[in-house]
Every structure is written in C-alpha cells, then in structure tokens.
C-alpha cells in the first residue's frame, strides 16, 4: 500500500515537475507547426552548410591559386624562346620569397596540350608560349613588383601573371554566394517566426478558457506567457531536431555520393570544384547551433506574442 501511494505521488511529481502543461495542445496544429519548423530548420541548415562548403572550397582554390604565379614567355620574332625562358627562370629564382621555379619544357607543354591537340603534334611548328610556374614561399612575401620590372627589362616577351584577378574574382563569387545564403537563412527565419506567431495566436484562442481560469486563480501574465514559451519551446525542439537530423543525413549522403564520384573518372574535378562534401566539425556545430536557435526562437516568439496579446486584452 505505501509503495502504491508512493508510486502515485511520484507520478504526480513527474507530471508537475516539467511545468504542468497548461496550454491545451491541439495535436493537429502542433504537428503542423512541428513539421513547418522541421522543414525550415532543414532548409536553413542545408543553406548554411552549402555556404560553408563554398567558403571552404573557395579558400582552398584561392590559397592554391595564390601560392603560384605563372610566367608566359611568348615566341617573338628574332628571339630564342628557350633562352628567354631560361633567363626568365633565373630572374625568378633570384627574387626573394620564391620557393620553386619550374620551366616547362617543350615535351611537357605538349603533354599539357595533348587533350586539345592530340598526340604527335610538332610543338616547334606552333607559336605556343613556354610556361614557367613560380611557387611562392608561404612564409615570406614575394617581391612581385621587382620581379615584374626585372622581367620587363631583360625578357620583354615574358608576361607575369600573379593570378590576383582570379583570386579576387573567386573570392567575390564565394562571398556573394555566402551573402545569398545568409539572406536565404534570414528569410527562412522570418517565415518561421511568422508561422510561430500565428500558431501561438491560434493556441491562445484555443486556450482562452484556460487563460481565464489561470488569471482568476492568481496567475500573472508573465507566468502565462512562460507557459506558452515552454509549450512552443518543446514543439520547436521537436521540429528542430527532426529538421537538423535530416540535414545531417543529407550531408552524409552527399559525402558518400561524392566519395563514389571521386573513385570514378573525373571525380577529382568534381572535388576540385566543390571541395569535399565534408562539413567537418564546424559544419555539424553550425547545424546544432541553427537547430538550437530555431527552437529557442520558437519559444521566445510565442512568449512575446502572448505577452503582447495579454497586455492588450485589458
């Protein structure tokens, strides 16, 4: 008998502890809201994740591209291109902040052009410039200006390309994509805020009787709005967890697919373009942060809607 009573009491305690659910929960409306929040969380995390992938990939591109320069030595009438290329190589080597200089030989240039021109083309017949790839020392700032001037003085048919334009354009593109993603996330948040506000109004209308009773038994408005916050926080958490899990699942699936691709031919190109479909821990942390923010936002928005409505009610 005492154990029975104890069990009953602990059951009561269990029901009361997390805060009696005082908001009448219309299960259809609640499920609809949970679904909306799940979809919004999914879209927001997916967008944010995509933005992070783009940013990571663009950082990879630009750091690779920025660590190299190329010098093209163009064939010019009356000049020995091979000698010019050698000279240009020597000049480059003498400049500080340069780690490695590699002058492409004719055979190597031919190999580079093979996909376009096919084999067996006599390079000597073609006005193809000689390429010199200059690798920069990452620990030291290279003196690009002095290199450019030295080249202009002694090898006028050499063109130095420091890839700056490329890097700038890549970064601009990546930054615009990230900005677009941010706007999309903000729009999703705004749409979710509206959905939550309307759901709260609906729940309040459905809980009018309950709210009245709470007032009569001495509940302050702040207490009532906290009840709503609790209720919607729970719904928000449900939706955010579902949406977040789906997003993580989507990224893992994309990771698998991209891994499969990179086994196939051309996979390395896909990877070069998109980077790896690997969000890394910061990506997963972002998913958690966004999902958490969605849940917390849901609670706070409904609390403020209720506070506002109650203040106007009298």
């Amino acid at each position: 008998m005492p154990t029975l009573v104890q069990r009953a009491l602990s059951k009561i305690a269990g029901r009361l502890k997390p805060g009696l659910s005082l908001v009448s929960s219309d299960s259809i409306a609640s499920n609809a809201l949970v679904t909306v929040i799940a979809i919004m969380t999914f879209l927001a995390t997916l967008t944010a994740g995509a933005a992070m992938l783009v940013r990571n990939a663009s950082q990879d591109w630009s750091s690779t591209v920025a660590r190299e320069m190329t010098i093209q030595v163009k064939p010019a009438l009356g000049r020995d291109m091979e000698a010019d290329a050698r000279r240009a190589g020597e000049i480059a080597r003498s400049v500080t902040g340069i780690r490695d200089v590699r002058v492409f030989s004719r055979q190597e240039s031919a190999k580079l052009l093979e996909p376009w021109l096919g084999t067996g083309v006599e390079m000597a017949d073609l006005p193809v410039p000689t390429l010199i790839v200059v690798k920069l020392d990452s620990s030291q700032q290279a003196n690009v200006t002095s290199l450019r001037e030295a080249l202009r003085a002694s090898v006028p048919n050499a063109i130095l390309d420091d890839h700056r334009a490329w890097v700038d354009r890549l970064e601009l593109m990546a930054r615009s994509l990230v900005a677009v993603a941010l706007v999309v996330v903000l729009l999703v948040l705004a749409a979710m805020g509206l959905a939550v506000a309307f759901a709260t109004r609906g729940a309040m209308a459905g809980s009018r009787e309950i709210v009245d009773v709470l007032h009569f038994v001495g509940a302050a408005d702040a207490f009532i709005s906290k009840q709503f916050r609790g209720h919607f926080l729970r719904l928000g958490m449900k939706g955010a967890i579902v949406g977040g899990l789906f997003a993580v699942f989507a990224f893992v699936a994309l990771g698998f697919i991209s891994a499969r691709w990179s086994l196939d031919a051309g996979g390395d190109q896909v990877e070069a373009l998109f980077g790896q479909f690997d969000l890394g821990w910061s990506g997963y942390a972002a998913v958690v942060v966004i999902a958490g923010a969605m849940a917390v936002l849901t609670g706070l928005i409904s609390q403020s809607v209720v506070t506002h409505q109650l203040r106007r009610a009298r």
Partner: protein
Amino acid sequence: MVRFENVGLRYGNGAEVLRDVSFSIEPNSFQFLTGPSGAGKTTLLRLILLSLKPTRGFIKLFDRETSTLGKEEITAIRRRIGVVFQDFRLLDHLTTYENVALPLFVQGREERTYRAEVLELLRWVGLGERINAFPPILSGGEKQRAAIARALIVQPELLLADEPTGNVDPSLARRLLRLFVELHKSGTSIVIATHDLALMDQFDSARRLVLGEGRLHVYD
C-alpha cells in the same frame, strides 16, 4: 474588505443589470447573495473578481480603489480571493490534484512545499480517492468539491461561491454549507450566491444581500 458605492453595470448597450448598488463586506463575515435567476448575482461576483469593470460608481477592494489598478495589483488581489464558479471551470486536462494545486503552482511555488497540504485538503473534502482522476469523469458533486478545494487551497481572506449547491443533492449541500461555516469560523469572509431558500434557512443568522430589478437590498 469590499465596498461598492453606487455601482451600475450594463453589458454593451443593454439595460443596466445593476443600478446604484452600494454595500460593503466586512472581514470575517458571512453573507448570502440571493435573488431570482438572472437578477445579476454572477455579475456582481464578477465585479468583485475584477473580471468586469463597473459602468458607474466605485468599487474598493482591500482598501484600494479598483478603477486604476495595474495588472500586477489585480493579480495580487486575486490571490487573496478564492472563487468557486457556477460551472466550476476545472481544467479538463489536469488531474483533480493538479487542479486543486493550480493556484499554488501559478504562484511559482515548488511542488514539494504544498503537496502534503493539497492532499490533506482533498481528503478533507472527500476526494482523497480521486486525486488522479480527470474532471470529465468526476460526478457533479465531486467537481463541485474539487472547485471548492481549489478556492480554499490558498486560504483566501474572501471566498466567493456562485451557486455552490446548485448541482448537488440536499445532503451534500448541507455538508458543503457546514464546510463554509467552518471556514468562516476560521476567519474567512464568505459570499455565497444562491437562490436556494432552503439552504439559507439552514444558516439564518447570516447576512442576506438580495438582488431584484437591478437593485440590492441588505438584510443584516
């Protein structure tokens, strides 16, 4: 503790339901509020509860003029008043225990500080076996007692009960009246709205506030 001066009330643009109502309720007093159905008993109780504003006149509660009260003050006053509604207004999705504990719960009190108290009160009104039942399966009399227990749990200074014997058989009505009288002896002011003459005859030393044609007559 309650003072009405020339209070008038109309709903919307209708005729005045209450006209020039003046009376006061003293601490530790016991009164019946009576009059035929539709006379305005419930309306008068709602005025005391601050759930309606008078269209004319003044209402003072606990020495405060009520027309200028802020929300916090209204909440504070309601915590000193226990109310039993005619239609009980129990929350259907809470157990009897939770319904009775509600006024303490909304004050933010920890459950362990009041659990024993609530269970004792439930036993006292004869609902000790029904603590986990939900209102829809309670009988009319059980709901009535749960509603009364909810009003009493905060040990209010003023208890308002609207037709508390309207849904129960005469023997339970007598027991409930005894409960109110006991409460009155322990210092609470009681206002019972009823049109049950037999009930009033059982406690004929009580004051009577009689409503008729919108006016209130007091018989001490």
